[in-house]
């Protein structure tokens, strides 16, 4: 009887891991905030807030505050890990327009990696004057 009980106990432990699916991976990424659309087109040129885009004459022109404008239009914001062009970029599942004033800043995003390349952010911070400032949009939860 006791042997059966102990076997049942062991079985419960073994299957507990499959009954309750693993929760999404928790992650903290430190890097630079980018507008994913322009950065995706020309990463090096469009890493900051001023972007290079083709003008009417076909020549490349500087567009100041382009990242801010794109985020303000709702283009998803991303964070480039480590703040170096070409590194892994995560799309931040949050309202982009709420982050428009922080584009190209050093940021720290804490959340859950729910999709490949997408973070549900529970906390978004940017570095200003050497200090981390919480800029998490109010309607996140």
């Amino acid at each position: 009887m006791k042997r059966i009980a102990s076997l049942m106990l062991a079985t419960i432990f073994v299957f507990a891991g499959t009954i309750f699916p693993a929760s999404p991976e928790k992650i903290t990424v430190t890097g630079t905030l980018v507008d994913t659309k322009c950065y995706g087109m020309m990463a090096k040129a469009n890493f900051g807030n001023t972007h290079k885009l083709p003008g009417a004459d076909g020549k490349m022109m500087d567009v100041p505050n382009c990242a801010t404008a794109c985020a303000g239009m709702g283009i998803p914001t991303g964070i480039v890990e480590g703040g170096e062009v070409g590194n892994k970029t995560y799309v931040i599942i949050a309202s982009a327009s709420a982050l428009k004033d922080h584009m190209a800043k050093e940021a720290r995003v804490t959340g859950e990696l729910v999709f490949e390349g997408g973070i549900i952010a529970s906390k978004i911070e940017v570095k200003e004057d050497g200090e981390w400032i919480d800029v998490t949009p109010g309607a996140m939860m």
Partner: protein
């Protein structure tokens, strides 16, 4: 039979179970997330086409039953009433394409979610450029109509 031997007999299978449990629920080292990712199926820059339902990534990520327009388990807890997906897209949460239903992969679309807010829950066909695994810059978005044909929406 002494209590000590009973504990010993129960303890061995329990310990085995715990080992299995920890193995099942173990997570990769998140200190270096890039190192834990599998190689991408798609190369960056590939142009691909994906079909699926247009979803609000915020609510869908929290509960995969939040697949339609009205969500049984909305994330912004203050959000009540119908058309949660539209509400989230209008708020600016990125929109995605859920391929193969609730358990399938999701492609996050790098476009303005507000523009697609009126098409949430619709079956769409998106042609776009892969930015990374699961992330797509759409070049063309079409919606399937009732007669099965496709109509251009973006």
């Amino acid at each position: 039979m002494s209590i000590t031997s009973n504990i010993a007999r129960l303890g061995v299978p329990t310990a085995i179970g715990l080992l299995f449990l920890s193995a099942c629920s173990s997570k990769p080292d998140v200190s270096d997330p890039a190192s834990t990712r599998e190689a991408s199926l798609y190369a960056q820059g590939d142009t691909i086409s994906v079909n699926g339902l247009l979803v609000d990534t915020r609510c869908f990520a929290a509960n995969r039953q939040n697949l339609g327009m009205d969500h049984p388990d909305p994330v912004p807890t203050s959000q009540t009433g119908p058309a949660c997906a539209r509400y989230c897209a209008l708020q600016g949460f990125p929109v995605g394409v859920a391929v193969d239903g609730p358990e399938g992969p999701v492609w996050i679309l790098l476009s303005s979610p507000q523009v697609l807010a009126d098409y949430m829950e619709q079956t769409v066909r998106v042609r776009g450029v892969v930015r990374s695994e699961g992330v797509l810059t759409p070049q063309r978005v079409e919606m399937q109509t009732e007669d099965g044909s496709w109509t251009f929406i973006l």
